[in-house]
């Protein structure tokens, strides 16, 4: 194992952060290696759905940007008790979103990630959204979070993480999700909003 990989993936304060000023070349080398390893080994959501070549571009971009102007961005890092790799994950996820937004209007760059292109124009309908929000607000918190996580397109294992359940809770999640969706649909219908109408209005 090299010196650099001695940095643990879950370190909140990897050693290179201590030598940004005293030994910037070493800090650069180790930060570069850490970032590539961390983001390749455990890519964050959104980013991980991108084409591998785009992922590489974004990693390379972030590595350089963090080191520009004498590590200005890295100096802004504050130890909040979470792994440094988590901080990197936030940055790269947001950069991935920027990339998707920038390129998303070009059909060849559409990604398969579930976003709000499903029903064009839907989100512009404020009254409709107010009704949905109101109905969601009448559902108990855990059920609401389950609905939101499922709408994110998360897998059962990931939904379990969000809900704080054991990983093998797939069956329970499926059952609960079915119940929660039925409840929301019923509330929407009681509020005068039938899904069939929404779908019919799509075109």
């Amino acid at each position: 194992m090299s010196d650099t990989t001695a940095h643990q993936l879950t370190d909140a304060w990897p050693g290179f952060l201590d030598c940004l000023e005293t030994d910037p070349d070493r800090a650069w080398k180790e930060f570069h290696e850490f970032t590539w390893r961390a983001l390749r080994a455990v890519p964050p959501p959104v980013f991980r759905d991108l084409d591998p070549a785009v992922q590489e571009d974004l990693i390379a971009d972030i590595v350089v940007r963090c080191a520009e102007n004498e590590f200005r961005l890295l100096r802004g890092y504050r130890n909040q008790g979470i792994p440094f790799a988590g901080w990197l994950g936030r940055i790269v996820r947001n950069r991935a979103l920027d990339w998707i937004r920038r390129e998303g209007n070009r059909p060849e760059f559409q990604t398969g990630s579930p976003q709000d292109h499903d029903i064009p124009g839907l989100i512009d309908q404020k009254n409709l959204m107010a009704t949905v929000s109101d109905c969601l607000g009448r559902i108990r918190g855990r059920c609401r979070l389950l609905l939101v996580a499922a709408a994110d397109g998360l897998k059962p294992r990931e939904i379990a993480v969000v809900l704080g359940l054991p990983e093998d809770s797939g069956k329970k999640i499926s059952d609960d999700l079915r119940y929660c969706r039925r409840t929301l649909r019923q509330l929407l219908e009681e509020s005068g909003l039938a899904l069939d109408t929404v779908i019919a209005g799509e075109g």
Partner: protein, 301 residues
């Protein structure tokens, strides 16, 4: 996952939920509590607090998922075995910045001061078939061709636009003999690459996009350079009014510099032996001994 609803109704419901819960705001939730939740170590009250925050922030949900992945037992081994490319030079520390040969390339009269500043760009160390150039478009393009033109291949660089654009040229385009102004990315990866370079260029803010020889709009002179490789040539179209055009190259490893006169139309200027075909080079297109624009510094991955 849900046999009660047809897929279209499910998609509609999910889209409604997403639209009604955009959840983009940053969460005030303390990150150590989030980490505790990811480890399954929160009390019931703390879990409620975390879940309330998760409900309102897609970013926080993604952050939690990433944390949970980082904590997985096999993540450390994957981290240790992940492939890492060689690091590029640390941004802002290329030897070019301190090299007197580059510093000596003083700007042409009337050139915006910042145009003479070498633009050092650290480039993503990836695609081996790509070379990157930022700076004087023409110089960068010339460097790209020199670095990647294979024996027997020819490329013509047409630099006649009113825009001093960075040139990020792809090998295949060059070997076909394309115009640097007509670069059209053909794949998402190429588009991302181009976007990256453009962003780096524009965001830097240190380089004026004003072409110092503009409005020299007549681009009539055609100069062919023999690269010193068998049958490899580069053809440049340069301004008719250009005085003593040259290309200057600096090998940043050996610190040797070279100048190639381009003074005569359609005469092959020999490429000096010893110019690296690979590696870190700085390039400037000179008129009357002074750089036309910012010298380009190229880093080949």
């Amino acid at each position: 996952m849900d046999s009660d609803m047809d897929p279209k109704a499910l998609a509609a419901l999910d889209a409604l939920i997403r639209a009604a819960t955009p959840g983009t705001a940053d969460s005030p939730l303390s990150r150590d509590l989030l980490l505790k939740y990811a480890r399954g170590e929160t009390t019931e009250a703390e879990a409620d607090q975390v879940q309330a925050a998760l409900m309102g922030s897609r970013e926080l949900r993604d952050e939690l998922l990433h944390l949970a992945d980082l904590l997985r037992p096999d993540a450390g081994a994957t981290f240790d075995s992940a492939e890492v490319p060689a690091p590029p030079p640390r941004p802002g520390t290329s030897s070019a910045t301190a090299d007197p040969a580059i510093v000596a390339l003083t700007p042409r009269p009337g050139t915006p001061p910042q145009a003479a500043k070498p633009l050092i760009v650290t480039l993503p160390p990836r695609r081996k078939k790509w070379v990157w150039g930022i700076g004087s478009g023409l110089a960068a393009a010339a460097a790209l061709v020199v670095l990647f033109l294979l024996p027997g291949e020819q490329a013509e660089i047409v630099w006649g636009g009113g825009e001093t654009l960075l040139v990020d040229q792809f090998e295949s385009d060059l070997s076909r003999g394309g115009s640097t102004d007509s670069l059209v990315p053909r794949t998402p990866a190429e588009a991302a690459t181009l976007a990256w370079v453009r962003r780096a260029f524009w965001d830097d803010g240190s380089l004026s996009l004003v072409d110092p020889v503009d409005p020299l709009a007549a681009w009539k002179r055609r100069v062919t350079i023999n690269l010193g490789k068998p049958a490899a040539v580069i053809t440049l179209l340069i301004p008719e009014a250009a005085e003593n055009p040259e290309i200057a190259w600096l090998d940043l490893d050996s610190r040797q510099s070279f100048r190639v006169p381009l003074a005569t139309d359609n005469v092959a200027a020999s490429w000096p032996m010893g110019v690296p075909a690979r590696g870190l080079v700085a390039v400037a297109f000179l008129l009357d001994g002074r750089p036309l624009a910012t010298p380009a510094v190229l880093v080949e991955p």
